[in-house]
Symmetry: C2
Subunit: 217 residues, 2 copies
């Protein structure tokens, strides 16, 4: 993890891990706007100042946990695709990993990946939709996200080296895996899955989108 994301590394102390664990739960439960360090501190039995020793502010904390998610997903992607040689199959696996429900990874007791996934869906784009996005980007705060996007772009080029928009298609897949999920549950008129609420339909949509785009013509 990029050490500009925190003041004190939360994974190195008990309090830090509590901050992450309960921070994720609170953001997921009440939304990022109503989340405050004071509420978090009360939740875990410390003080506001205690939380401020780990993160500059709540927006930095959101960037931290999203970066954590993308790093974790990249690891998961590597794990599940390393034995796949066919780039088409790789892409399908990637779409599956991006768009299907995440279960909690028990190996990380201080992070509930399932809740974290919900945060990525509902709050994920807020990390970069700010006036300070360029400075944050210079500080490499979005590196894990960009790395994943680049990786998917490369696999797209493996499928069809003459496809003109690998990176844009890649960011489209990532964003839509989340937006279509959010829309399905909250603004169903914006999707074709509102009735069934079935994530496999989102996967079918994304696969159709990607493979008809990169099909050689």
């Amino acid at each position: 993890m990029n050490d500009k994301l925190f003041i004190r590394d939360p994974e190195k102390t008990e309090l830090g891990k509590k901050i992450i664990l309960h921070g994720i739960e609170l953001i997921n439960k009440n939304g990022f706007e109503s989340f405050t360090f004071k509420k978090l501190a009360e939740e875990i039995g410390t003080t506001e100042a205690g939380v401020y020793r780990y993160f500059e502010n709540k927006h930095r904390m959101l960037i931290y946990i999203t970066a954590w998610y993308w790093s974790w997903l990249e690891y998961k992607v590597a794990f599940y695709t390393n034995n796949i040689t066919d780039p088409v199959e790789k892409l399908k696996k990637l779409i599956y990993l991006l768009a299907s429900t995440v279960e909690d990874d028990i190996r990380t007791s201080h992070v509930n990946e399932s809740s974290l996934h919900q945060i990525i869906i509902a709050e994920g784009s807020k990390v970069y939709l700010t006036k300070h996005v360029s400075e944050d980007n210079k500080d490499q705060l979005f590196k894990p996200y960009k790395d994943l996007c680049a990786k998917i772009g490369d696999i797209i080029l493996e499928c069809n080296s003459s496809y003109a928009f690998p990176k844009s298609l890649s960011s489209t897949i990532i964003e839509m895996a989340h937006f279509q999920n959010f829309f399905m549950y909250n603004l169903p008129a914006l999707t074709d899955f509102g009735k069934e609420k079935d994530e496999s339909k989102i996967i079918a949509f994304l696969e159709d989108l990607v493979f008809s785009s990169i099909k050689k013509r």
Copy 2:
């Protein structure tokens, strides 16, 4: 305009129009997070309480101006596509209208559409990425956006009545017209247009995406 979006209709009074005009400028200049009714009031020579007589809070005001934008765009779309019969041409025109730079419409002196378009790009998704999205949706606050999405979905079906995901493809086009623009200028690694910063490339990407998806197979 849905009258749940405001307390007092801002288009009916001089102060109301000033609130819209300068509100758009302030949000565009400093971002929605740092925008406050106090700053706005100072800008236009009224008081905080004066602004609160028009809008319940700044989030409602953001929904109002985005709804205004989508209604205005729908009118523009109707104007520019009413004489087009070919659905493929209609879709192309729509993508163009969604993804290209907006100039100020001089007929509306209390709204700068060019600034408003920038707000849609950078802040647009924040209107629904909240915990109260479902109640807001019940109050029909997102109707203009959903209407446009439905309209594009219908045109997609006119092109290919057997295409399975017209609404999801429609919301994908709308969102990506803005996200790819934001990425191009702020996180260029997520796009294929980072160097040129040329909006016609985004249009080419979206056209390729849409027409390869809906091509009959």
